[in-house]
Structures are given as structure tokens and as C-alpha cells.
Symmetry: D2
Subunit: 442 residues, 4 copies
Amino acid sequence: MHQPISEAPTLSGRRSFSRALDDYLSVRSRTLDLAAPLAIEDQVVQSMPDASPTRWHLAHTTWFFETFVLERHVRDYQPFHPSYRRLFNSYYQSLGPQLERARRGTLSRPTVDEVIAYRRHVDEAITSLLEHGEPSAEMEKACSLIEVGLHHEEQHQELILTDVKHALGMNPLRPAYRRTEEESPVEADAIRFIDLPGGIVEIGFAGDGFAYDNERPRHRVHLEPFALADRLTTNAEYLAFMKDRGYERPELWLSDGWDLLQRERIRAPLYWIEADGQLFEYSLGGVRPLVEAAPVVHVSYYEADAYARWAGARLPAESEWETAAEKASVDGNLLDSGWLHPRSAARASARDASDDDPGSRLPRQLFGDVWEWTSSAYSAYPGYVPPEGALGEYNAKFMSCRFVLRGGSCATPGRHIRATYRNFFSPDARWQFTGIRLARSS
Amino acid sequence: MHQPISEAPTLSGRRSFSRALDDYLSVRSRTLDLAAPLAIEDQVVQSMPDASPTRWHLAHTTWFFETFVLERHVRDYQPFHPSYRRLFNSYYQSLGPQLERARRGTLSRPTVDEVIAYRRHVDEAITSLLEHGEPSAEMEKACSLIEVGLHHEEQHQELILTDVKHALGMNPLRPAYRRTEEESPVEADAIRFIDLPGGIVEIGFAGDGFAYDNERPRHRVHLEPFALADRLTTNAEYLAFMKDRGYERPELWLSDGWDLLQRERIRAPLYWIEADGQLFEYSLGGVRPLVEAAPVVHVSYYEADAYARWAGARLPAESEWETAAEKASVDGNLLDSGWLHPRSAARASARDASDDDPGSRLPRQLFGDVWEWTSSAYSAYPGYVPPEGALGEYNAKFMSCRFVLRGGSCATPGRHIRATYRNFFSPDARWQFTGIRLARSS
Amino acid sequence: MHQPISEAPTLSGRRSFSRALDDYLSVRSRTLDLAAPLAIEDQVVQSMPDASPTRWHLAHTTWFFETFVLERHVRDYQPFHPSYRRLFNSYYQSLGPQLERARRGTLSRPTVDEVIAYRRHVDEAITSLLEHGEPSAEMEKACSLIEVGLHHEEQHQELILTDVKHALGMNPLRPAYRRTEEESPVEADAIRFIDLPGGIVEIGFAGDGFAYDNERPRHRVHLEPFALADRLTTNAEYLAFMKDRGYERPELWLSDGWDLLQRERIRAPLYWIEADGQLFEYSLGGVRPLVEAAPVVHVSYYEADAYARWAGARLPAESEWETAAEKASVDGNLLDSGWLHPRSAARASARDASDDDPGSRLPRQLFGDVWEWTSSAYSAYPGYVPPEGALGEYNAKFMSCRFVLRGGSCATPGRHIRATYRNFFSPDARWQFTGIRLARSS
Amino acid sequence: MHQPISEAPTLSGRRSFSRALDDYLSVRSRTLDLAAPLAIEDQVVQSMPDASPTRWHLAHTTWFFETFVLERHVRDYQPFHPSYRRLFNSYYQSLGPQLERARRGTLSRPTVDEVIAYRRHVDEAITSLLEHGEPSAEMEKACSLIEVGLHHEEQHQELILTDVKHALGMNPLRPAYRRTEEESPVEADAIRFIDLPGGIVEIGFAGDGFAYDNERPRHRVHLEPFALADRLTTNAEYLAFMKDRGYERPELWLSDGWDLLQRERIRAPLYWIEADGQLFEYSLGGVRPLVEAAPVVHVSYYEADAYARWAGARLPAESEWETAAEKASVDGNLLDSGWLHPRSAARASARDASDDDPGSRLPRQLFGDVWEWTSSAYSAYPGYVPPEGALGEYNAKFMSCRFVLRGGSCATPGRHIRATYRNFFSPDARWQFTGIRLARSS
């Protein structure tokens, strides 16, 4: 999950510095909670260039506050260590050279303890700022940057989990991250498509709270009538695609996807394991039998797209998804639920299942469980203006060869997600909690 | 230029088989005309994986007619050579294994003469089919496939030129493809932006003639008001970007573009040469002094996008481009003009230059000169349905990580281009005649 | 085959300039004879980085005479073309930048005709020099360099054949280079080991004629008693190794060799083809049934070494080979025989087959057929002094990670080989005519 | 340092099991001592494919005893963990699949604590075996394997240091491994060459103690008269080579070495640092000013060879080195000295410096300080027979493209080195303590 940076909405006036401090301390401590089940060793390794060591996430999120808040808005602030500026810069080119991303796992220092001390140093400085700062334009700016930093840190909370899952899941010992509850097998009800009328709709963020710049401006889009699946695609459905030789039929695949299959010998979702003729899945709770009714997860855009083609459907455009989701309440199997794995959809209610009033029906599982690949290449909304300055420097820098994902996953903090939220990844990415919702043109 | 395959529009009834034969013979002979200035050696080499030897183009376009027309619609057709089916298949996975693309230049056989004999063999069979065929549903199908084959061959005519340009241009001797006329320096008039109102517009092909499936269906799009530059970006303007350290400022670049610059040490458009403090450009007519008023050409999407950002503008969406172009007549510096290089814009007429009736003004250089990068990722239009069968197999298979280009270039046959035409390339491609037209949100 | 450059032995006094001219014209014309069966297209392609296009060999050997003889020893010599100095320099770093080796096949110019004209230009200048030159120290130096150039050209004659074999053999059409005679199957007689006493021996060149610097100085070596196979390893014997799962048993292989097998999926000698359960071999005469009694050819050092280990033997040291060969006359299946493929050993004569006088027996097939891998890493002889100046610049530059091969092959000019001759290649090379002779410690 | 495995010399009869146990416990505890200064994080990282994490060394050396001693010679031995067999196998192909070497640093489990427990488990089993075992042929075999295992472990002790040095030295923070003493600057006395007569000499191991199989058999070699430098090449001398543009003159370099320089932009020994116009060197004690009289260290074979050529000398053959060293006592700056860095040569004694009796003079610094590159490609001695069975499986598997190094370094346990010891590395390796001693042909 890359980090599009937000426009800075005014903060003070909406809540006091003390409210900001509460938020700050709560988000910061949750990050440490996520690292708590890990051995020191787990926080050091990097299992592929796209993933980062936990220790790096702990330090980089701290670097963000140090660089954008403390060094700019606190007079006489003493940086914790002169080299950290370079070591923990992720990709802000204008802030100087960075350590090559793929080499993050080759560094043993600073140690975890030193990084914790770094966090403490910065936390104390931010606490002091928020406790003693006088209302002013500069203070308002600082608070706004702190808010950005917290959303940034929440993105890294999800990455800590997905990166650690990759490191532990690639280890032949396949250790669990922590004990988690296991889902009892249920039966999925048949998938249904909910018709939506299209026409001129509005998408994008326009409210008061926080949103990233890439969700703005709210704007009009014309949609043809379409239909959206009322739940996520399940493991059982995906298995039917595999049994129908889905991975061997080039006509189902985008050209780049087909090449990827051959190059990396991909034949199943990332964490599936076949042993003694049975299917298992590595989860953050360890290796478990595959739950057929649960959503398929850890598939690339190419797999999602090929599956949809095989199923006689397609992936939704992000505008379609947002239109369908904007009336839904933001709840679901998110990080806060503690499952750390997608779950089977709750059975549709009688009313949902009836066709009495299809217009009022809402798809299930819109938020949480898995990030849903959309068919939309990630790009700027019409009228988009990147924010000024260093933070805004790279707002749109990932706007090529990425696809938009919507809805958050079982590793996304509930406070972090909303209907207008645009996540984006390269179409070959599989280590995030990514899954499939089908759509159709009516 | 990849080859999206068309829906098969009905042909007979519109024109006789004899008209089809005229077209066939005329397109086929132009292909040979394009190879005529080349030495045998020039037709063998492959200077990079994306480019193919001329000889391969000559054979592959022939393979297309043999495979899709003759083997299917002519009883007892005798293939010219049993191995050619594999050797000259480009990427149709369902038709069996192919020679690895990057190895096309390692093959010395069949020789050019053998390929010419292959062309003759197939031409005779097609001629016989069109001369002796009786009207029937199958014959209609065959004619329709022949028409597809001719458009396919026209795409390869452009590729012959761009691929040969690369092979000769990378050769330290930098030989010319053939003598071409050289443009006299002129002064470009100032760029102007033409305002367009947006709203609900329709784009896509809906007429009678030929169009590829990816141009369909015609559909509605909502556009915000926007403005489009009335001519292409010139070498002089691009040079100003370079002098302003455009290639060294990361904040101007997409992340993948910045990585590309570093990896391939890109510091100027592909064929620019600096010698003795002066700038030259390799053209199909050989090395020549850079013409400042001529359109900049052979830039990647990343360069086009970075330039636009530097210029305080952006690239147009393909829907914006099409809306602006649909009233324009399809003429310009296309292959038929024989320049084989983009030319400076004709000066705007007095009326164009006045602001009397801006609504009636049309941008210059919409067709020909250079393919114009749009900000639109190549994707399916709403309601798009891929055609059935082998030819339709891969209609959409390039719909990831490609950007749409519009308007044709100085190497595009005039008969081949139209306002709805969607070309697409990877954003790092630079060997096509690709250039820049700016846009702005009003 | 890289080109170790010779010390310049005095030439004049031994033969007249006219004799030198005869040699010159005869070697030069044989090079063209070797290219004669080829289409122009065949002379352009490069099927892998280690191989070069024929056209490049034709030009590079000419460049050698131009650079080292004409530019240095002929006043007012006019180079044929100013860019050829760079285009056709192989690896002489001190003579300026070179074209990257792997890109030789991407160049279509100069054309074959232009290269022939280049040859003619240089041949005329050399002819004129040898016809009109007056005896002098400089002329002596020039003659000596001409002699080096001829030996250099003979090395490239062999490379023309091996490089063309690779290009044609990798082509799915597998065309023949030219018609050659086919060997009738014979039965190989059992392999016998000839005992040799060891002790202090002398190896290296010390005579009057031409030899490369790397064959000097002649020096003493101590050898333990050893035995040498009296003929080359045959296809049938190698096949037994393969059937015994030789390619699947890591304990038989050097570590780097095992890695190579996995990386390149090597499971047989380079040009073996299995079809319909039968074994064939691509030869310069085309695809033919494998001749069981013929020497196995186109194996890497790793394959030769693994085979020897499997056979309970080892490869000979180069000093062992030379000691055994120095009494043998230099004849065998060399380029001059015209077979262009290794042949089965002539049956041992009655006397050879008896054990009456083993000391007097000589191994068969020492010269020609295949280059024999030795266990000796290529390195400088004790007391070796590289020659002065540009030609001597790189005499020893390949003395790491190369192994010595002895005896010449069916593609080596007979005039070129001798018992002290040291060829050397990387242990993974397989496109030369390389084979196996076993040895044992007594 | 790869691990050639020894022939198993008879052990019992020479010393009691209790002596073996003392050795065992002492070597095993030294390994832990070497890890003691490290943070857990330092024991996890892998800074390049050639280096391994400390934790892996701790486990792999333990795996060796478990696999070769306990599983074979102790009835009912319970392996500590079923997966460790694969995880900690280095390269014994016949013992099953291994984890890809370059991925060792991606594993966080087993943790350091778990590895320590593994060591303890195995140590207890070995202790029990040695305390309770009854003399028998099998027990003798077990003792012999234990001895091999201890020498194997000593090799890994050196690797722990060199691998950790690389990981810490590549870290931008450049932390010290531990505090070490710093050498006071001294002046080197002029280099002198000691003449040696050559003739028939014997090299190789023939005594009673332990030696690896690759040191056998002792055999005769003929040497020409030669001279050997009486001390190692210093930093000051190497600096003179650099100032003379040594890294920019292709004529000084082997071809593969020159390519390496360009590819990896090598311009100085591995750990040299230039800052503010001054030269520093990263050592295990941290960054320090370069000591001019100290031996140059961390150079590749290519650098050693180029330096020698520049200096008008050459590298010694391994037989020359051994002949010169066999009368010397095995002492010097080895691991036991605790310096962990090469030191300046002690000044030659008056007698050494005189020319009275040159025959009796011995070169200084033969043992310890740096491994000395020889010009000898690593290969089997005449008459070499690899030992039977799994341990012997790969005795010679590195006998291609490696060069022999002699004499041990400041990281080699004193007990481990001897005059006949043959270390070997790839010619591009620079992370070992490798340096230069010059030789000359007399």
C-alpha cells in the first residue's frame, strides 16, 4: 500500500489539541501492539523487495513525524540520530537519497530496541508540542500534518501484517503470527447480482473529515446500467475455475498476466498449499484447511480479471463500486475484529434474498475481508490538483500501471477506510489481502 | 503497435469482390514498396526485443492471410511451408507455440527471397479466391477477414518503418533509410489553448466502415470543461524543459518513469544526438540538425507526462481528444505525404488566431506527425464485448499497463486512421513516433 | 576461441616476401570460400553473445591487417572507412572503445558487399606492400605481423564454422551449411589405455616456426605415471552415461556445472535431437542419425569432467596430453578433410592392438575431430613474458576461468595446429567442436 | 571459504575420547564466543548471497554433527526438529533439497534462542557419546567424523567474522563488531625478494595429524628458480598503484577482472572509505584511518593480479608458496591474537635484512594477517582420490574457477592452519581477508 498524501483539512476548531493527542497516542500504541507477537528476528527480515521489515515500518512512521512535523514546526528540535533521515525515508526523492528498497532487510542496525527508543523520543516531542502549543496558524498546520501522519501510520499497520505474513508464510516452518480464531465451515448462498441504474453519478470525497488528495475532487461520472455481485467470490468458486484449467487457458488472461504465470509458475492463490491431496491455506494464525465459503484472497489483478472472464462477468469500475457502496455503513471484518483473515459472508437476510425491492438491496462484504480489485487504472480525478510542498510532492507519482482497489481488508483499521478510499497496487501484487467481486453490464 | 482485431463488419453488398481485390493488391504492394529501399541485411536484424526484422513483418502479415483466410475458407489449400505456422505466429497463444519474440533476429532463414515467394504464393491464392468465389455466407466471412488482414498489414507497415529506424539509428554508422526532404526552419507561433465545454459527450465508433472492436461501442462519457493545445509541443519547448533540468527533478516524474530514467540513463528524446555543442536528430532520412519548431518526437509516456507537469498543464484524456477531433477532417502529415518525419505546424490562420469564435476553432496537427500520448490507460469501453473465435481471442489482452495514443503519425497510412482510433503502447515505449499535446482543466 | 597473440618470430631470411604473399592470398581466399555456401542473411545473424556474425569475422580479420600492419607500416595508407576501427575491434581495450559484443548481430551495415570491398581494399594494400617492399627491419616487422594476422584469421575460420553452425542449428528449420558426406556406421573397438611413464618432461614450443606466445617458454614439468585413452569417447559411451542418469546425479558434477545444468536445463550434448524415440544430431551437413561410434562432440568441460568421473577415469592434464602427442604426426580429420564433423576412429592396427610394445603405441585421433578438454586451467607457463606493445597487450588476459583444449577439431585448418597448441574456453562453452579423451593415474 | 572435507584419519589410539571431548567443547564454545558481541538482529541479516547469517552458521555447524555423527552412529537419536535437515544443509545435494542460498537472510525462524537450544541438544548428545562410547570401529569412525566436524566449524568461525563484517560494513551506520585495539602507525621497511632455487620439490600433506583430502597426496613438482617477497604488500604500495591509475588501465587486468571493475564500479579495496580527502578503512573495530604500513586486504584475485603486473612481478604458484613456507613455524596474527585485522609486518631482523645467508631467510607474515592469493587455479593433486560416501561426495566439486589462497588470516583459528592448507575462492571474492604477496621468476 503506497501512501498518497492528503490535502490538509483544517483540524483545530473541529477538535482540541488534546483530542489530537489522544488520537496520536492511540494510533501509535496500536502499531506497537501489532509488533508485540513478533520475535526480534521477525522484525528484521525482508522476504521480497516489495515487503519491508517490521522494524523499518516502526522507524519509517516515526521518521514521518520527525521530518514533517518536528523538524519544521518545533524550534530547536534535536533529531534522534543524524543518519535516520536517510535510512528511513521511503521514497521522497526531494528529501535526499534513500537506501535501496530491496536492501532494507540487509540492515541489522538500528536494533529493535533502538527503534523503540526513537519512537519514544519522537512521541515525547509530539506530546510536548500538543500539550504546550498555543493556537496559531503554524500550530494548525502542525496538527494537520500530525493527522496525515496518523493515517500514514495506519497504512503501515496494514503493511506490517501483510509483510510479516509473507516472511512467515515463505518460511518452510510456516510459523503463525499469533493464535487467531478459526472459522467453522458454512455454506455460501448463491451469488446474486444487484442491478444498479447508472446515469450521471457523483464520486469522490467532499465531506468534512479526513481524506487523501487522490479522493478529490468530487465529480460527475456517467455510468451505463450495471450489476454488482452481492458478495465476494469464494474459494469454492475459484477452485471451480482452477479445475476448469483456468490457469492453462491463455484466452482467459491478459497478455502480461499470462507471461507472469509462466515466469513465476503461478498455479493457485499465493498462500494455498496442497498436501496429501488436500488444500490448506497459510493464514496469520498458521496453516489451516481451506474454507470453501470464505472469500478467495491473495490473488493478483490478473487472476481476478481472468476469473471474472471465465465466470462470464467482469470486474467493477471504481466508480461503479463507489456508487454501490456509498449508502452502506462502514463495517465489516476489518482489523478491529481481530480475525486477521477474510470470513465467509453472513447469509443474506430474507429481504435481501427476495426480489421485492432490489433497488434497496446492498451488496454484502463491501468493507473489510479483502481489498476488491477494480478494473480502473489508478489515475487523477478530473480537476485534481496536487497539494503544494514536500508532502504533496508525489501525490500522483504512482499513477501508471497500478489498479484501484476498494473497501479495505481484514488488516485495515476501521477508522481508516471509507467508501471513497482509493487503494492501488501493481496488477501483479499478491501479498496484500486482495480478492474479487464480480460485476456485469446490464 | 499491437494488433487489436476488429469486429467483422459486413463487406459484400457494400462493394464487390473485385473492389476487395483492388484493396488487397494495393495494400500488399505498398508493404513491399516500404521494404524496397532496404538492403537484405537491413531486413534481418532485430535491434531490441520490441522491434522485429522487416523480413518477419513481411512473413507475419502473410501468415495472417494464410491462417485466418486460406486455411479456413479455401478447400484443399496447400500451406507454403509447414513450419511457418509457428515461425510467424506473433502472439496467438491458441494457435500453438511461438518463437520467442526476442529471438526473431537470430534467424537467418527463411531468406528474404523465400519470404517473397511465400507472399506470392499467398497472394495468388487470395487473388484466386476473390476472382472465382461465389457470393455466399462463407465468402462474406472470408472477405471480412481479408479486410481485417489489410488493416493488420497497415499496422505492420508503420512498424516496419519504426523498427527499421531503430535498427539503423542504433547503428554507429547511422545510415538513412532513404533520402527524404528536409524541412526549412520556420518559427512556431505561440501555443494557444482552445476551450471546450465538456458535459455529456459520446465517443467510440458507430459508423459503417471498418473499425477495430476496441473502438466500440459508442457510449456516453461525462467531461468537465477543458482546454486543448492548438498544436503539438515543439522541440524548442521540450528543450526549455531540459534546460530547466527537467530530467533531474524527481518531483516532475511518475515514480516508474523516474526509475526508468535512472536505469536506462535517459536524458533526451530517443534519437537526439549532441555533437560539437549542437543538437541533431536521427531521422529516416539520416542525421539532421534539430528543427526547433517541429514537434518533439520519440518520447515515452513518462517524458510526455513530466513535460506536461513542468509546463503547468497535463495530457488530455482520450475522450477529450476524440471530442475535439471528431469534427476535424482526417488529413495531415501521414505516411502518404512521404516526409517520414513530423513537421512544424502550419501557421494558424488569421481566423484561428483570433478569439472571435473560439468554439469553431480546431486544433492543428490532430492527424499525422506524431501519435499523441493521452492520460488514459487502455481499457475496455463500457459494454465492450470481445468477438468470438480465434481472431477475437485476444482483443483485450493488452488492457493493462498500456496508455492510449491518438491521431496517427507520419508513418501511419492515411486510410488507416480515424478520430476514434485507439493505439496503445507501454508507457516506456519510445521507438514509435510518439509526441505531446497539452491539455488543461478549465 | 580467443586469440592469444604470438611473439613475432623472424620471418624474412626464412622465406621471401613472395612466399608470404602466397600464404596471405591463400589464407584470405579460404576465408571467403568458407562464407561462400551462406546466404547473405546467414552472415548477419548472431545467435548468442559468444558467437559473431560471419560478416563480422570477415571484417574483423581484415581490420587486424589494417590496424596492425597497414596503419603502422605503410606511409599514407588510407583507411577504408573511419568508423571501422571501432566497429571491428574485438577486444583490444587500448585501441579505443568497442561495440558491445552481444550487439554485433543488431547491425545491418556495413553490408556483406561493403565488407567484401573492405577486404579487397586491404588485400590490395598488403599485396602492394609485399610486392614492392624493400628488405628492412620495418618490413621484417610487417611480415611478422602479417604472419600473426594469418594465424589469427585461421582461428576465425574455425569460428565462422562454429558460429554459423549455432545460428543454423538453433533455427527451427535447421538448414544445412552445405552438403557433406555422411559416415557409414562402424563399430568402435574397445577403448584401451596407453601407459606413459611420467617423470621430468619438457613441454612448450621451442622450434623455429610460428607459435603463439602462450606456448612458450618450453619448460620442465614433473609428471606421475599415467595412462591415456587410445581414442576419443564415443557417442555410444556417452549415451551409456546418460542412460545411467548421469545428468541427474549431483555427485558426478562440479558445483558450477550442476548449477549450469539446472539453469539451462541441459540434458544432452548441444546438438542432439530426440524425435520419435530416435536420436539425431545436427551437423553442418544437416540433421542426421547419431553415429554411435563417432566421438561425442559439443560437450562442456563440466560434461566432460562428469563423464570421466562416471567412467572411473579423469581428464588428462595438458602436460600429459602434450607429452603423449609430441611424437605423433599432425594429421587427422581437420578442416582440410572437408568432413566438417568428427568421425569414428579408424580401427587400431594389429600392432597397436597387441600389447607387444605398448611404449611405442600412440593414441589415435590426437589431431582433428574434436578439441579435447584437459583438466588444466589456462595459465601462464613458468617464465612466460608477454610481448611488448599493443599486440601483446592482452596475451594473458584470459588466464582465469578458462580450461585448455588440445589437438584441434574437424574445423581447424591443418596448417594451424601442432602438439604445443593451447586453445582455451570457458568451462560452460559447448558450441565449439569439443569432446573427451579419458586419462588415468597409473 | 568452502568446506573441503577431509579423509578421516584414525583418531583413537592417538588420543582418548576424553581428549576429543575437550576439543569438541572448546571449539564449540569458541563459536558462541564469536557470536557474543552481536545483537540478535546482527545474527539474522544476509548482506549478499555469498554471506550467511550468523544464526545460520550456528545452526549449520550443528547440523553437521547431527547429520554425520548422531544420525549415523547413535542408535535412537532423536533429531531436534524434522525440518532442520533441509533448512541447514549447505550444499550436500545427495542429502536432499536445500533452501536457496540467497534466501537464508529471509528466514526469521528458528530464532537465535531456538538455534542455541539446538546446539545444546546436539552438544549433549555428542558429550554423551564421547563419555559413554566403548572403543569400537564404529566409535572410531564417529570420532573421526567429530574431528572433521570441528575443522568444519573452525572454517565457519572465520566465515562468521567475514560475513558479519560485510553486513555491518555495508550498513550506513558502520557499527563496530566489537572494540579492538588500533595499530600505531609504523614505517614499513623496503620489500625484498628472497631467492629460492626450485628444482624437484614435494608438496602436499603426508603427516599424522588432520588434513583435508584436497591437501593429499604429497607429490613431486618441478619448480623453476623463483623469488618471493619477504612481506605482504602494504596499503601504501597499493595506493601507489591506484595513484598510477591502476584501476583505469585495461592492459594491467585480466579480461574478466576488467569487466568486473566496470560492472561493479570497483575503484579501491572493498572497505576503503574516502571522506574529506582522507582515507579510512572499515574494520571489525569500526572505521579507522588507513594504516599505510599494514597489509592491503579485501582485494579480489583480479586486483592482486593487476597489482602484481603493475609492480613488475607476479603472484606465486601455490607450490612455490608451500615450498617457502614449510620450514616456517605456524604463528602470526591469527584469530587467537584478537586483533581481527591485518597488522604491519614486524621489522625484519638484522640478520634477515643482511644478505649474509639469504638461503636461510624466511619470508615474514606467511601465516595470519591475510589469505594470500596464489596464481594456482584450484585443482586436484595428481593421484588424488576423493573419499567414499556422503562426506566425500563433494570433495572436489569446487575445482573450477576458484583460485588457491594460502596462509590463513587474522580471522583463522591458529589450530586450523598449516603450510599445506589450501583455501580457495572465486577470483571476484573480496569479503574474505585476502591480500597480496609478490613473487618473481628468477
